[in-house]
């Protein structure tokens, strides 16, 4: 069973950037990638996805172009820019620093073992 965790604000941006590190992708593909990679913990609402994509595009961290999907559908593909790459590494390290600090405070992982 998957536990749905509320996504902290601003983390969607870094997740999108990280997803695009692996290559160009369209909006649908990005949402699915995040869902799969997080093992269904993070389900991206499309209502949040597209505003996030606009934001990132406005800031110049990603670039968009029309292209053809695997099913020969016309789709808008996003790619990471140089600035975006820099931003990604910055934010990733910030995130890890944060996560470690919080982890240290909260102590070792006390979650109940999953019922298999």
């Amino acid at each position: 069973m998957s536990t749905r965790v509320a996504l902290l604000q601003g983390t969607l941006d870094v997740l999108i950037l990280r997803t695009l590190l692996l290559g160009a992708q369209h909006g649908q593909g990005i949402a699915r990638a995040i869902q799969q990679q997080s093992e269904n913990v993070l389900l991206v609402e499309h209502g949040a996805l597209y505003p996030a994509l606009q934001r990132l595009e406005a800031k110049g961290w990603i670039r968009a172009k029309w292209g053809l999907s695997s099913n020969n559908r016309k789709a808008r593909f996003y790619t990471l820019t140089q600035k975006g790459r820099k931003q990604l590494s910055q934010e990733s390290s910030q995130w890890w620093t944060l996560a470690e600090a919080i982890g240290r405070i909260l102590g070792p992982n006390n979650r109940n073992p999953e019922e298999v």
């Binding site: 369209h26 209502g47 789709a75």
Partner: protein, 903 residues
């Protein structure tokens, strides 16, 4: 716009996303329709996302504005009757203040057409003018010597220029031109005048310092206007020799077009001459008399200068000059010197001579046109309210479908602002044509110094007023439109029996009140004008003509004057139709005036300015010719010559002011202390108005032309000598005045062809000119008052019609139930008249206040005037009656079945 393009882009992206999702679901096993449906569900509210995207875009508000504008235009065009009424009403309401503002802008606000006018500073406020001798306390007019002193000792000015305060006319004739001399305005200026204003010559060169030296060749500059209108832009004018008052000068250059000098005045100068040439052309040698103050001083300060410190420095210099220099009037009381001061003022808008005369009148007109604008707004608000109510159904449906109230409010406001702008543009058209007419009426009979086409400032004003007007009359109705309850849409709006809203009623009341105020003011002003025009002027203007000459400028010597004036009198008397001829230094209503202080025998001399009177020299039979009665004693006679006893005739005001309760005949006075015995009073003339028609008659005395008193004071003596050259020949003719002009000119040509005539004018015309400003204001106020009345009537008509329409069902029901049709109609009308009465109730105290505010313009009319107030109220009542007749009749002829059936 980018927003639009990206929205399409985004929509396409969403659709592609949908398609891809559907594909995926199909791959997972769902069939076509199910896949698509599921994809849709997964994606959520597409439209909402599109909207969110759209609204996050920065240009959304602009897009919405465009939509609102297009919608408004469509709405407006769909109701042509309403649109035309609205636009016409607005055009009038906006055009009027714009025209007035245009005038104010031209007369009061505009900068001189010179570079960097903000660097220009003038001394004083031009309260003194002409030629002045004496102490000023607050100095604004200077002698040549004093100007030079200030110029040479003040370091803060880049250049300090001086120019004649009161340019006079000169006779001009191009050497070799066969035509007779014509009179033009001419101004004497310092050598650095054009340099100070940084005005280059259009052709030739400007007057420079080298021309402003004693002994330099005589030169002059001509204005572009004169060059164009009188010499057809002939290039040979530059370098040509012209005779100015008979003296040959070389024209060295043409001033640029649009340059009219240093002040906004009617009849700007057409010729500029260096100060040093004044003795040769003006023959008065003012530049050589340190005690004659006839120059204004203006300069361009060095950038970064501290004005106050320059001012302080100049104040010290002034006092030094008064102490050490030739002094003032010789016998200056030294204790007064520390009180002498001057102040620097920004000079960028010129000397502002027209300002003092016209500013009060213009402000009043602006206030009145503001009233009209308010009435127009009230009318428009009414119209908009009615429209809003009619469209209530539509608005309710929009609200029910989810439109934001704010958006509807915005749309309504956009519509009213659009109307305002359209009306404003039409109003600009009105203002454009109206301004020209207005300016000609204000500067009556004279040439306009400035361009009257509306420039950017005026256009900005008009547009600003349009937008504000649109907002003002749109806010109320828009607000009430958005308060529409959506449930009304379902119920079917229009079935309500509510009376016209409070706002509508309030508007009619406001209009009625404002109309009353304007009508009352108009009545008072018109009556004042009539009183002023019909008052006893103390002289007769019918059949009287004045001819202005200047023998001084034509080079006559003092001893030639006796013969000249006798010849003039004899020759003119022999013309057919001429009953009598005489002359005076200046005639009544001519715009001229000479004043002096007087001292009386047996009394201590008054302070400077305490005993000031007007005075003039007159010829024999003057009082007869001008139609002024001699109350006691005798007039000036032919036998009064220099060698006989020096006499004076005083007017009643003089007698009352200086000899109350006594008989002035036989008493003595003079123009200076120690000369109190020089003039003996031999007659009292009836009061005659020589100056402003709305001021009480000034004390005045009249001297025989040849009798000269030799004063010890050079300043006074200069005036005394100059006054021997009396300027105005006055004729009493029988029959029509104007046909005399040709014979008079020929007669003068016969006496001396080199003596130019400056103007020939009947005293009737002179009077009209003096009354012109008052007349204009009265006429405009009446125009506005009638417009206000018309608008208020239309408003009342609209409200009543609407009320009848609203209550048509109610009326139908009542009639069917047996009520008397007339009493039903009376009920509707009663409401209307209650509104008018309330309007009157508010308007009456407002009108009284208005009367008090304009009391300075009233002449012989009480500011609190129940008669006029009552009359205005009656007129309003009658118009209300007329306005409600048609709706009343319509109400009376309603078929009850029709009203009950209709929805």
């Amino acid at each position: 716009m980018f927003g639009k393009r990206r929205l399409d882009d985004f929509s396409e992206e969403l659709r592609s996303h949908l398609a891809i999702e559907a594909d995926r679901l199909r791959e997972e096993g769902l069939d076509e329709n199910e896949a698509r449906r599921q994809a849709r569900i997964n994606l959520g509210n597409l439209m909402l996302q599109e909207e969110q995207f759209y609204e996050s875009s920065r240009w959304a508000w602009l897009e919405q504005l465009r939509q609102d504008v297009r919608y408004s235009l469509r709405q407006i065009l769909q109701a042509p009757a309403f649109a035309i009424t609205a636009v016409l009403t607005l055009a009038l309401g906006i055009g009027a203040p714009t025209a007035i503002f245009s005038l104010i802008h031209v007369v009061l606000l505009k900068s001189l057409p010179v570079p960097r006018p903000s660097e220009l500073y003038m001394i004083g406020e031009a309260k003194h003018t002409g030629v002045y001798s004496g102490i000023e306390t607050e100095w604004d007019i200077f002698s040549y010597d004093l100007y030079k002193y200030l110029r040479d000792h003040t370091s803060g000015f880049e250049s300090l220029a001086a120019f004649q305060a009161d340019p006079r006319r000169v006779g001009v004739r191009r050497i070799g031109d066969p035509r007779a001399a014509q009179s033009f305005g001419a101004e004497y200026v310092s050598g650095n005048y054009f340099q100070t204003f940084q005005v280059p010559a259009f052709a030739g060169r400007t007057i420079g310092e080298e021309d402003d030296r004693a002994g330099a060749p005589l030169v002059a500059m001509i204005s572009y206007r004169a060059w164009q209108e009188h010499y057809a832009l002939d290039p040979s004018v530059v370098g040509a020799s012209f005779g100015l008052n008979g003296t040959a000068v070389t024209i060295i250059g043409v001033a640029p077009p649009g340059f009219f000098g240093d002040a906004v005045r009617a009849n700007p100068p057409d010729f500029w001459l260096p100060l040093a040439s004044e003795p040769d052309v003006n023959h008065a040698r003012w530049v050589q008399n340190a005690q004659l103050h006839w120059l204004y001083v203006m300069g361009r300060v060095k950038s970064g200068s501290a004005i106050r410190s320059i001012e302080g420095q100049m104040q010290v210099e002034l006092r030094q000059w008064l102490t050490q220099g030739p002094g003032v009037s010789g016998l200056l009381d030294v204790s007064l010197i520390p009180r002498q001061t001057l102040h620097l003022r920004p000079g960028g808008s010129g000397m502002g001579l027209a300002r003092a005369t016209y500013s009060d009148g213009l402000k009043l007109l602006l206030a009145i046109s503001g009233f009209v604008l308010m009435i127009v707004c009230a009318n428009m608000a009414n119209l908009m309210l009615v429209r809003g109510i009619a469209r209530r159904r539509q608005t309710s449906i929009s609200l029910a479908l989810g439109a934001a109230r704010g958006r509807i409010l915005r749309q309504a406001l956009t519509e009213s602002v659009m109307l305002g702008l359209i009306g404003g543009i039409a109003g600009i058209g009105i203002a454009f044509s109206g301004t020209r007419a207005l300016v000609s009426s204000v500067f009556v009979g004279n040439s306009l110094p400035v361009d009257t086409t509306p420039d950017l400032t005026v256009l900005a004003f008009a547009i600003g007023v349009s937008i504000v007007t649109g907002l003002m009359f749109g806010v109320g109705p828009a607000w009430s439109a958005t308060r529409a309850d959506p449930i009304d849409a379902l119920r079917g709006a229009g079935r309500s029996t509510q009376h016209s809203s409070f706002a509508q009623r309030g508007l009619v009341v406001t209009q009625a009140a404002l109309s009353l105020v304007l009508l009352t003011a108009a009545g008072q002003l018109i009556l004042s004008l009539r009183n002023e025009a019909n008052q006893k002027f103390g002289f007769v203007s019918e059949g009287r003509i004045a001819v202005r000459i200047d023998p001084n400028l034509a080079g006559y010597k003092v001893d030639q004057l006796d013969a000249l004036y006798r010849r003039i009198q004899d020759t003119l008397r022999r013309l057919p139709g001429v009953l009598n001829v005489s002359y005076a230094l200046f005639s009544p209503m001519s715009g001229s005036n000479w004043t002096t202080d007087v001292s009386f025998e047996g009394r201590p001399p008054g302070l400077d300015g305490e005993n000031t009177t007007s005075w003039a020299r007159v010829g024999p039979a003057y009082f007869d010719t001008i139609g002024t009665a001699i109350v006691r004693g005798r007039p000036v006679l032919e036998s009064d010559i220099d060698s006989t006893r020096h006499v004076a005739v005083v007017n009643e005001a003089f007698a009352q002011r200086f000899f109350p309760g006594e008989d002035p005949i036989g008493k003595h006075f003079g123009a200076r202390p120690k000369f109190e015995k020089s003039l003996e009073i031999v007659g009292i003339a009836a009061n005659a108005k020589y100056r402003e028609p709305d001021q009480p008659t000034f004390p005045m005395f009249f001297l025989p032309r040849p009798q000269v008193t030799h004063y010890d004071n050079p300043g006074t003596m200069a005036f005394e000598s100059r006054s021997l050259y009396v300027n105005d020949i006055v004729l009493h003719v029988a029959g029509a005045n104007l046909s005399m002009e040709e014979p008079i000119r020929r007669a003068f040509a016969g006496i001396d062809p080199n003596l130019p005539i400056f103007w020939i004018q009947s005293l009737e015309t002179a009077k009209t000119k003096q009354l012109s400003q008052q007349s204009l204001i009265a006429r405009l106020t009446s125009l506005f008052g009638l417009t206000a009345l018309l608008l208020a009537s239309i408003g009342l008509y609209g409200v009543t019609t609407y009320a009848v329409a609203q209550r048509s069902k109610e009326i139908g029901i009542r009639v069917v139930l047996g009520a008397d049709r007339n009493s039903v109609v009376g009920m509707v009308l009663r409401n209307a008249y209650v509104l008018v009465a309330t309007g009157l109730g508010f308007g009456i105290p407002l009108a009284i206040v208005m009367g008090r505010l304009i009391r300075s313009r009233l002449f012989g009319v009480d500011w609190y005037n129940p008669t006029i107030l009552g009359g205005a109220a009656a007129v309003l009542g009658i118009c209300a009656l007329l306005a409600t007749i048609v709706p009343a009749r319509r109400a009376a002829s309603l078929e009850p079945l029709d009203t009950l059936r209709g929805d």
